[in-house]
C-alpha cells in the first residue's frame, strides 16, 4: 500500500491459513492488509454430462461477494481467476471430471482480485491438484500524479486514475492474466508489469514459507 520508490516494492502484511474447512477437498484463506478472501476447492469430482470435456477437467469458479447476490462484476472476476487457473493446472490428467473453486469475499479493502488469486492458488495446492507452476496476483494503481502504488487500499484505488491487476507465474515470472481499468500509457503499463514481477517474488517466498510451516509437523 506504500508508494513505490525506484527499487523497493512494499506490500501490505500477508497472512494465510490452509486446510481450515473440513468438508472441502482443499481450502485456504488469504489476508492482505484488511482484504480477506476464503477459497474452497472440490475435485476431481463427478461432472454433468452436458459440461464434461473429453480430454480435460472442467474448471468452475464461483465468487461470492460479502453482501448480496453475485452480479456482473463477480462474473468478470470469475473469468479472470478461471483463465489463470486453467493456465497453471494440469487439467489433462483428470479428463471428464470437474474441479470447483469457490471464493468467498470476507472483507474488501482494495486489491480484491489479487487476493482472490492468491487464495485460489493456496487452495489448489492444499487440495493436491497437479499444477505445472504457481501463480500470484498483484494489483497496481497509478495515482493522479503518475506514481505507481502496489497493493492499494480501497481509498487509494478510488483516487487513482488507473488500476491494474496482473497474475504472475512462478516459473518464468510471465504475465498469465491482466485486468485493467482507467487510462494509462504504454510506458506506464510496462513499468507496472515490471513492478508486479518484482512484488511477486515476495509473495512466492511467502507461499514457500507457509507450506514449509504446514509440513513441519509431519517431517
Amino acid at each position: 500500500m506504500e508508494v513505490c520508490g525506484s527499487l523497493t516494492v512494499s506490500l501490505r502484511e500477508f497472512g494465510c491459513e490452509q486446510s481450515l474447512l473440513s468438508r472441502t477437498d482443499g481450502s485456504a484463506s488469504f489476508v492482505q492488509g484488511d482484504t480477506s478472501v476464503m477459497a474452497g476447492v472440490y475435485g476431481p469430482a463427478e461432472v454433468k454430462v452436458s459440461k464434461e470435456i473429453y480430454d480435460r477437467a472442467t474448471l468452475e469458479v464461483l465468487v461470492q461477494p460479502k453482501v448480496g447476490l453475485p452480479s456482473v462484476r463477480e462474473r468478470s472476476q470469475e473469468q479472470c481467476v478461471r483463465e489463470t487457473c486453467e493456465a497453471s493446472l494440469l487439467l489433462t490428467l483428470h479428463p471428464r471430471s470437474s474441479l470447483t473453486l469457490i471464493l468467498q469475499v470476507l472483507h474488501d479493502d482494495g486489491s480484491l482480485l489479487s487476493c482472490c488469486l492468491n487464495a485460489a492458488c493456496m487452495a489448489l495446492m492444499d487440495a493436491g491438484l497437479p499444477m505445472s507452476c504457481l501463480f500470484c496476483g498483484v494489483t497496481c494503481a497509478i495515482s493522479t500524479d503518475g506514481q505507481i502504488i502496489t497493493d492499494p487500499t480501497a481509498a487509494q484505488e478510488k483516487e487513482s486514475r488507473a488500476l491494474m491487476t496482473f497474475a504472475i507465474d512462478s516459473a518464468k515470472r510471465s504475465v498469465l492474466m491482466s485486468s485493467t481499468k482507467g487510462s494509462f500509457s504504454v510506458h506506464e503499463l510496462q513499468q507496472c508489469i515490471a513492478v508486479s514481477q518484482k512484488a511477486s517474488e515476495k509473495i512466492f517466498q511467502f507461499y514457500r514459507d507457509s507450506v514449509k510451516r504446514r509440513y513441519s509437523k509431519s517431517l
Partner: protein, 244 residues
C-alpha cells in the same frame, strides 16, 4: 541428476520446482559413463529432460532410486492394484456400480467374486460395503474393481460390514496406518479389540464390542490426523485409563 535430487530429499517442494540434468564440465574419455536411472513416483513429472514437481509436499526417497512427493490430500484418485472400500449403488445387468469417492463410479462384475458362476450369483445388495481392488484404473477409462486376486481367491476381499461404522479420513493417515511398522496401529492394539478395514480411498470401517467403543475408536482415528506422535500416545493412554 540423481545427486541433485538426492540432496533435496526431506525438503518441502512446491509445484514448479525443477531438477535438470547438469552438463558435465569434464567428460572423461577413459571411464565409461554410468547411466543413472531415477524412478518418479506421485507428484513428480518428466517434462522433456527436466523433472518437475507438480504437487506440494515433502520429497521422499527409497533405495535404490525411487523418489516421490509425500503430500496431504483428501480426494482419492484411483490407481491400479490399490484396495478400497466401496459402496454398491446400482445393479445394472451383470455389473454392479460401486461408489468409492472418485470422479466416477467403478464397475464390479458379478463374476469377480470367489466361487461365482453364471448360475451361482454372489449375494450383493444395494448399499452393501465391498472391499475390492482396482483391476483397471487410469484417467481414460472407467475404473473396474474385482474381489478376487490373480489366482481366483478372495484373500479377504468381498462384501463385509454387518454393523460397524464407516467414516472418512485423509489419505495420509490411511497410508500411515497401512505402513509395515505403524505406530498408530500398535497403539490401537493396546486399546480394545476391534475389527478394522482400511481402504486406500480414505475410508475406514470399524466394529468393536459395543457402540460406544466403536465411536471412541472412530473419534480417535479422526483426531490422530492432526496430532504429533506424543500427543496421540497421551490421548490413547488417557482413553485406556478411563473406565468403560
Amino acid at each position: 541428476m540423481f545427486s541433485t535430487v538426492k540432496e533435496r530429499v526431506g525438503e518441502v517442494l512446491l509445484p514448479g520446482d525443477e531438477f535438470s540434468f547438469e552438463a558435465e564440465e569434464n567428460i572423461s574419455l577413459t571411464v565409461p559413463v554410468k547411466s543413472e536411472k531415477v524412478v518418479c513416483g506421485p507428484g513428480l513429472r518428466r517434462c522433456g529432460d527436466r523433472l518437475v514437481v507438480c504437487k506440494s509436499g515433502v520429497l521422499r526417497h527409497k533405495e535404490p532410486n525411487v523418489f516421490w512427493i509425500d503430500s496431504q490430500q483428501r480426494r482419492y484418485v484411483p490407481a491400479k492394484g490399490e484396495s478400497i472400500i466401496g459402496i454398491v449403488t446400482a445393479k445394472s445387468g451383470d455389473v454392479f456400480k460401486v461408489d468409492f469417492g472418485g470422479s466416477e463410479q467403478a464397475s464390479l462384475s458379478y463374476l469377480a467374486f470367489e466361487g461365482a458362476t453364471k448360475r451361482n450369483r454372489p449375494n450383493v445388495q444395494m448399499g452393501d460395503l465391498v472391499f475390492a481392488q482396482f483391476l483397471i484404473a487410469n484417467k481414460d477409462m472407467e475404473p473396474e474393481l474385482v474381489c478376487i486376486d490373480s489366482s481366483g481367491r478372495a484373500n479377504g476381499m468381498g462384501v463385509f460390514g454387518t454393523g460397524g461404522l464407516l467414516f472418512r479420513v485423509s489419505l495420509g493417515l490411511v497410508r500411515r496406518l497401512l505402513a509395515p511398522q505403524s505406530n498408530i496401529r500398535s497403539d490401537l492394539e493396546h486399546l480394545f479389540p476391534c475389527e478394522l478395514v482400511v481402504g486406500m480411498n480414505g475410508r475406514i470401517w470399524v466394529k468393536s464390542a459395543s457402540v460406544q467403543q466403536t465411536l471412541i475408536i472412530a473419534n480417535l482415528l479422526q483426531s490422530a490426523e492432526t496430532m504429533t506422535a506424543q500427543q496421540r500416545q497421551q490421548l490413547f493412554r488417557k482413553v485406556q485409563q478411563g473406565a468403560f
